[in-house]
């Protein structure tokens, strides 16, 4: 008598579609189009990146505001040992950048080859990726202007 072995194929799938929502979605779509989009918070300040909920009152936010792709460094640190996946593969500065027209700051890499070339208050401008896909990595890095 031959032994019957039951066989079933099993394919691992991720059968979900995720939406980034109206505000973060607007920010990411803006990046694809080469624009930086924030939103107006409940107290009137412009928050960048755009957020779905007000950070203080938690109310839904809906008014998008386009800001410049240039601004000032509000704080920074030197990264002398870039890790896999980070925006640049040579030493660079992490910075919070307050873009012109924004009231909050965005985390970004600033492409400078030496820490003496950046400080709080430095003016920086976004260097866009050659191919933009609607991701934060569409900003390749900021450069000191």
């Amino acid at each position: 008598m031959t032994e019957e072995v039951l066989v079933a194929d099993h394919t691992i799938e991720y059968t979900y579609t995720r939406s980034t929502g109206p505000m973060i979605g607007a920010f990411l779509t803006g990046l694809r189009d080469g624009k930086i989009v924030g939103c107006r918070g409940a107290d009137g300040r412009v928050i960048v990146p755009a957020v779905d909920y007000d950070p203080v009152t938690s109310e839904d936010l809906s008014e998008t505001v386009e800001v410049a792709d240039e601004g000032v460094v509000t704080t920074w640190s030197w990264n002398d040992r870039p890790l896999l996946g980070q925006p640049l593969d040579h030493p660079f500065a992490w910075a919070l950048v307050k873009l012109d027209g924004a009231d909050t700051s965005l985390l970004a890499a600033v492409d400078v080859d030496d820490p003496s070339k950046i400080s709080t208050g430095s003016r920086v401008k976004a260097r866009w990726a050659e191919e933009r896909v609607g991701s934060i990595t569409d900003i390749a890095a900021f450069e000191v202007v």
């Binding site: 950070p55 704080t75 920074w76 992490w94 985390l107 970004a108 990595t137």
Partner: protein
């Protein structure tokens, strides 16, 4: 400050820490430590009313990894159990809240981590905002550097120390809690939790004032952190000691700081504070922090009943 419906005390604790555990997994590190803590007050796991743990599944590298750690306590017959993807100190806060309900009078809190198996700076970055931050893989040390520079720029702290490499250590801590008379039965030197509070700041780093710790200040007020004899602060990088002392108004008190293993260090601070003041009549503050640039902070006020 909020008052408790039922007084809760730390009645026992045990801890194990090593820079890099070569062979034992999390469960194997936890087993002897949990049994040590239980043994100090003559309890068995079956007598524990509520069990809660703190750890990060990202450090183990798979979802619901914390469930496997239950092998260290034994989950049959079924136990009342909970878990936080946070430092174990926040799990202790959940246990204190649970004990207020009055259904049970003892709790076991434990925390575990073995970050030496990976690149901690890189692993922690996946906890950040998945759309606008995590794709940049920012290292924890680099983010802490933004905080240190913001402190320098504020001019409020004098010399701000440089950021050290992110501390990597493996370890576990277990703490036993008991309420009121049950605590007094179990030990002659219960350490009462007189206040405990934890607060969170905005997720977006660019929305926060990194030059101060608003959440530590609020938690300190909520926990009633005044008239403090000694401080046990969970500090991951040297500059953060200045932030916590400033937020809590600590100046003359002896301050004992440690980082400890990620997800364990905060609970270890509470355990160490309790051991230090047990039987002395002294009042200590212990803190715990979690998240990028101290996003979440917990403050506990402990009082060691005089023996």
């Amino acid at each position: 400050m909020k008052s408790f419906l039922r007084d809760v005390a730390i009645v026992a604790s045990a801890t194990f820490e090593t820079p890099s555990e070569p062979s034992r997994n999390e469960v194997e590190m936890l087993l002897p430590v949990i049994h040590d803590a239980l043994g100090q007050v003559g309890l068995s796991q079956g007598e524990i009313g509520f069990t809660v743990s703190g750890s990060s599944d990202y450090l183990q590298g798979y979802t619901f990894a914390f469930v496997g750690a239950l092998d260290a306590v034994g989950a049959w017959p079924p136990i009342r159990e909970s878990h936080l993807e946070m430092d174990g100190a926040f799990a202790l806060a959940e246990a204190v809240a649970y004990l207020q309900e009055g259904h049970v009078d003892t709790a076991l809190v434990y925390a575990f981590a073995r970050p030496s198996r990976g690149d901690l700076d890189r692993t922690l970055s996946v906890q950040l905002d998945p759309y606008t931050v995590a794709p940049l893989w920012p290292d924890a040390r680099g983010l802490a550097g933004l905080q240190a520079q913001a402190m320098r720029d504020s001019g409020r702290y004098g010399d701000v120390p440089d950021v050290t490499p992110t501390y990597v250590g493996d370890g576990v801590t277990a703490v036993i809690l008991a309420t009121g008379d049950r605590a007094r039965e179990l030990t002659k030197t219960p350490v009462w939790i007189r206040g405990i509070d934890h607060r969170i700041e905005a997720q977006m780093l660019g929305l926060r004032d990194l030059g101060s710790s608003a959440s530590t200040k609020l938690a300190g007020e909520g926990a009633g952190a005044t008239n403090i004899d000694e401080a046990y602060l969970h500090v991951l990088y040297p500059h953060q000691e200045l932030l916590v002392k400033d937020a809590l108004g600590l100046d003359r008190q002896p301050v004992n700081t440690a980082a400890g293993p990620m997800m364990v260090g905060g609970l270890e601070r509470l355990a160490t504070a309790a051991k230090s003041i047990a039987g002395t009549g002294k009042r200590a503050v212990a803190t715990a922090t979690s998240g990028a640039c101290m996003q979440q902070n917990l403050v506990a006020v402990l009082e060691g009943a005089a023996a």
